[in-house]
């Protein structure tokens, strides 16, 4: 017997399936679309109830069900697809040619160099990057020129509701937008490309470039700020954060010198949602960038990035950057790629393990589909 029941609203489904389930990544995909979903600190908050059944909020969320295989087909060339790290057209080590930029960057300054180029060449008119507020909270900011871009370099470790800023400016005057995105944010932007909504669906065509960042986890601002306060660190005095190679600690550069917090303590502050993340290399970006450490080669590769070119558009930008002399690239050794793939596979396996632990059954993978070939592959290893 079929019971006739009112469909649950998108907002309710989002609340039960994502927010209350601890799956929310804080990416901001459900924000700035309506007056109901907002980000406060790094939490997604539902201000008032909304009874719409086909809300964009749920459609865009990277933690609601999605056909990843279909998405890959739409966005990438089939021969490029790898199970571990998604589409790979090219894999290099890279760094900004401008040493001044490298000085102020976390690693090689690749992301900033590419975004700068995209802006100056007019490939995009606005870049969205994350920017730290007075404390450890972040926000996605719209950048229209090179100088402002350089004010926002460096890793921040907490999430930024970057996609919310995209939702906002895409409805305003921006015509060509580039986004620096974490894997969850890149997935949200990719879901928009499927145009699930009729209204405004073509806005997503204004997205011209996604530079993805490798990401293992992000910190909960609430827990992390408590930890910093416990360690008597003034949140407003932090200028830069880093996890130096070989040291098992997070270093915070403040006005009063460098303070160090044991990494075990920091790990307790990781957002629950990060444990369920299946993607550590931003598989749905045009280009993905990360740090270039591998094997025992710490020192040699300091100041370089890893670079994965995923799409045609990504390829063109990197080619242009090299031709214009703003980016230096070099071939990456095969063992580096192997190491990256192994690490990404491990992340997938542990995500599935955590998902199954949460759902209580290998048949219920929350936002993932057990029939997806990539999921299946790692699921098998879990069983």
């Amino acid at each position: 017997m079929v019971l006739l029941r009112k469909k649950q609203s998108s907002q309710e489904l989002l609340k039960k399936g994502v927010l209350e389930a601890g799956l929310c990544t804080g990416c901001g995909a459900c924000v700035s679309l309506c007056p109901y979903q907002v980000i406060y600190h790094d939490r997604t908050v539902q201000l008032h109830n909304c009874d719409l059944e086909d809300g964009k909020c749920r459609a865009f969320c990277p933690r609601t069900d999605v056909d990843l295989a279909h998405l890959r087909d739409c966005l990438f060339d089939a021969p490029d697809i790898t199970p571990e790290i998604g589409s790979v057209k090219g894999y290099y080590f890279s760094r900004a040619a401008d040493y001044q930029l490298r000085e102020i960057s976390q690693h090689g300054g690749t992301v900033t160099a590419l975004m700068e180029l995209a802006l100056t060449e007019g490939l995009i008119d606005s870049a969205i990057v994350s920017s730290r507020n007075q404390d450890i909270l972040q926000n996605g900011v719209r950048i229209k020129n090179k100088t402002d871009l350089r004010k926002n370099t460096g890793s921040k470790f907490t999430v930024s509701p970057t996609v919310a800023t995209f939702n906002k400016i895409v409805a305003e005057d921006a015509k060509k937008i580039g986004v620096v995105a974490t894997p969850c944010q890149a997935l949200a932007l990719a879901k928009m490309k499927l145009k699930p909504q009729q209204d405004d669906a073509n806005n997503i065509d204004k997205l011209k470039l996604v530079i993805g960042l490798y990401c293992g986890w992000a910190l909960s601002a609430e827990k992390f700020s408590k930890l910093l306060i416990q360690n008597k660190i003034d949140l407003t005095a932090i200028t830069c954060m880093d996890i130096p190679a070989g040291k098992n600690a997070l270093e915070l550069h403040t006005g009063n010198g460098i303070k160090s917090i044991p990494f075990a303590d920091v790990q307790n502050c990781v957002r629950e949602a990060c444990g369920y993340c299946f993607d550590s290399t931003a598989e749905f970006a045009d280009i993905s960038v990360g740090f270039a450490r591998f094997g025992n080669n710490w020192e040699e590769m300091r100041g370089w990035n890893q670079l994965i070119i995923r799409s045609e558009r990504g390829q063109q930008l990197v080619d242009l950057a090299v031709a214009k002399g703003v980016l230096e690239i070099r071939e990456a050794p095969a063992e580096s790629l192997k190491e990256l793939k192994n690490a990404a596979a491990e992340k997938k396996k542990s995500a599935l393990k955590n998902i199954i632990r949460k759902s209580g059954s290998a048949k219920n993978l929350l936002y993932l589909d057990s029939k997806d070939p990539m999921v299946k592959r790692y699921l098998g290893e879990n069983e």
């Binding site: 679309l33 309506c34 007056p35 109901y36 406060y40 939490r43 908050v45 201000l47 008032h48 209204d199």
Partner: protein, 646 residues
């Protein structure tokens, strides 16, 4: 000239409360005090308007207890004084009232309580007649408008005869209905205050005004009550109409007399039912009652709200059972009449027809069926804040701040228009969780804040109006500060006792008589007790919300946010729009917007209307107060505001 000062002999249409005020003037009242509360407020308001002309001292006091204390001082100095309040105000005044009845009074003093059966404009239907019995003082209840005036005048004389305070009780249908009243003479001479205190402690006229020695003074008080009972036996305010030996004796008082009279006439029972109307209901005139109780075997007692008369008559009857014989009593206790809510002529007629087995139907049988058909057609409407009401904006920010905070903060409500947020949760955006007496929201919040050790971890907010702040919130606020209760206390300051009609309070620069006086600032008081204080305009939604979030996050102490914005109906604001509001049809995307009608579905100012034909929001210009707040909530900025030309 105020109609309250009409010459002797003229017949004037008075509202019940005006008739009470005129009665006090005829009695030569010198001092009148009160705290606003429906249905009582017009008594002090009308006296305030003639205060200068009649050389009266009239004040709105901070609360009912203080009002009675101020009035008592006048009585101690030999003047005539009146103190006016609504039913639950008597509870506030009752502590002092107990002690006052013990010490006795000098100049005539009358406590007027206007009560609200059916809670038409209250959150209770409290009965204060029991205070008269419990505190052993006389109780009078006028049953028409002429009596409202005459009984009030006589109450002062009675008070002076027995040297104690007298209670005069009215109800909404007496206080707020109007009727013709023939005026009596206004005195030409005013009394001089003269306070004597050096006589013996037992000397009511010349000694210190004090309730000790308690037992001796208590006996003295009871003597006074007996004296009142003796006067009641002959009072013209108790009267009987009907046959000598009625089939049924109907005993009643107050507005119920009018219902009873009408019911008897509707059923044509004038020859079968005797109507004993009592103007003096405590102590009971026992001889008068004995006479009438002896005349029949069936007795119906009609009164609002609790069976006060019924209990007292039954106790009296039990004591004289041998003389009057066995009776059958009908009333509230046997459920012949409903035990709660207002009565009316139909209910009394139904009771009479049941007892006397008379066929009676107030409405044709088809009426109920017609009603059933119509009910589904009536749109569901709940009460809500007026267009332009600052409370809607305040609760909007409170709601948003609680949602953003994420710890499911609770709001303790209080008495004022903002109680609507508790009574009709959606107009307060589902924030208010408790609602009791004036000022109690703050005390309750202070208590919730101390439950941390038992696992209660929600942020606690108390809301309170400006008048309520002075009335009863201050002790609770000091308690919160003293006991380090972590609460966010919000004063919804709309510049007046708005719900009862903009009577002044200590925060304003005007007295009850209309004279200019300095204000007592709420912020200054809160700062003085050591609270962190912020002030915001509730129409500035962003700023208000940010302050609230900062306050909720700052733990361990008392924080006060004063939200200042005048009531939309205040005389200063009424009919003056600050903004002209308009929905830009180009910008409003209607159902295509992701907003899902935030303006008309959630914010729900009555001036925001959903145009079904255009499928867009529109402003109802007639009722829009021009506050401009909806401009801030539309995500499309489709609600446009332009500064109105003044």
């Amino acid at each position: 000239m105020s109609k309250l000062l009409s010459p002797a002999g003229s017949e004037v249409l008075f509202m019940g409360n005006e008739a009470i005020a005129r009665g006090a003037l005829e009695a030569g009242v010198n001092v009148a005090t009160g705290y606003p509360g429906t249905p009582s407020s017009e008594v002090i308001e009308s006296l305030g308007a003639v205060a200068n002309a009649r050389n009266l001292y009239v004040e709105w006091s901070t609360n009912e207890k203080v009002a009675l204390e101020v009035a008592a001082a006048a009585s101690f100095a030999g003047l005539r004084a009146m103190c006016v309040m609504k039913q639950n105000g008597v509870n506030v005044a009752s502590d002092f009232l107990l002690h006052l009845t013990g010490s006795g009074t000098r100049g005539g003093i009358v406590l007027v309580t206007c009560e609200d059966p059916g809670a038409l404009s209250s959150v209770n239907e409290g009965e204060s007649r029991y205070f008269a019995r419990m505190l052993e003082i006389p109780l009078l209840e006028p049953a028409n408008f002429q009596e409202a005036k005459d009984l009030t005048r006589w109450a002062f004389e009675l008070s002076e005869k027995i040297k104690n305070i007298v209670v005069l009780r009215s109800v909404t249908r007496m206080s707020h209905a109007s009727g013709n009243v023939i005026c009596g003479k206004l005195p030409t001479k005013s009394r001089r205050a003269y306070f004597v205190y050096d006589g013996s402690i037992m000397d009511q006229e010349r000694g210190p005004v004090i309730g000790t020695p308690v037992v001796a003074k208590h006996y003295l008080q009871q003597e006074k009550l007996k004296k009142a009972a003796a006067l009641f036996e002959k009072s013209p305010f108790n009267n009987y109409r009907g046959p000598k030996k009625p089939e049924l004796l109907l005993i009643t008082s107050s507005a119920c007399f009018l219902y009873s009279q009408e019911a008897i006439s509707m059923l044509g029972l004038q020859k079968r039912v005797g109507l004993l109307k009592l103007g003096c209901t405590w102590p009971l005139p026992s001889k008068l009652l004995k006479k009438h109780l002896s005349s029949t075997r069936k007795i119906l007692i009609v009164e609002e709200v609790l069976p006060f008369l019924e209990e007292n008559v039954k106790v009296l009857a039990a004591g004289i059972l041998k003389e009057i014989g066995i009776k059958t009593f009908y009333g509230k206790m046997d459920e012949t009449l409903p035990s709660a809510g207002e009565l009316n002529s139909d209910l009394v007629a139904a009771a009479l027809s049941k007892i006397l087995k008379v066929k009676y139907q107030s409405l044709p049988a088809s009426y109920q069926q017609e009603i059933k058909k119509i009910i589904p057609l009536v749109p569901l409407r709940e009460q809500t804040f007026c267009p332009g009401c600052p409370h809607r904006a305040s609760f909007w920010s409170i709601h948003n701040a609680i949602q953003l905070d994420g710890r499911e903060g609770i709001v303790c409500g209080d008495i004022g228009c903002y109680a609507l947020a508790a009574l009709f949760p959606s107009c307060g955006f589902n924030t208010v969780r408790t609602l009791h007496s004036m000022g109690s929201g703050t005390g309750i919040a202070s208590g919730f804040a101390k439950l941390g050790a038992f696992g209660f971890a929600k942020p606690v907010i108390a809301v309170c109006g400006d008048s309520t702040f002075y009335h009863a919130a201050i002790p609770a606020l000091i308690n919160a500060q003293h006991n380090r209760a972590d609460i966010t206390f919000i004063v919804l300051d709309n510049s007046g006792t708005a719900m009862t009609g903009f009577q002044p309070h200590p925060g304003l620069t005007i007295s009850a008589a209309g004279d200019a006086i300095p204000a007592v600032e709420i912020a200054g008081i809160c700062e003085a007790i050591g609270a962190k204080v912020a002030i915001s305009d509730p129409f500035d939604l962003d700023k208000t919300c940010k302050i609230l979030n900062a306050f909720m996050e700052e733990t361990g102490s008392l924080k006060v946010l004063i939200l200042q914005q005048e009531c939309a109906l205040s005389p200063e604001k009424k009919d003056k729009k600050q903004f002209l509001m308009k929905v830009d049809e180009e910008l409003c995307r209607g159902d295509n917007c992701g907003c899902n009608r935030l303006c008309t579905r959630i914010f729900r100012c009555p001036a925001l209307v959903w145009d079904r034909a255009k499928k867009k929001a529109v402003i109802d210009d007639v009722i829009c107060a021009g506050c401009g707040v909806c401009y801030s909530i539309c995500p499309q900025k489709a609600i446009v505001r332009t500064e109105a030309i003044k």
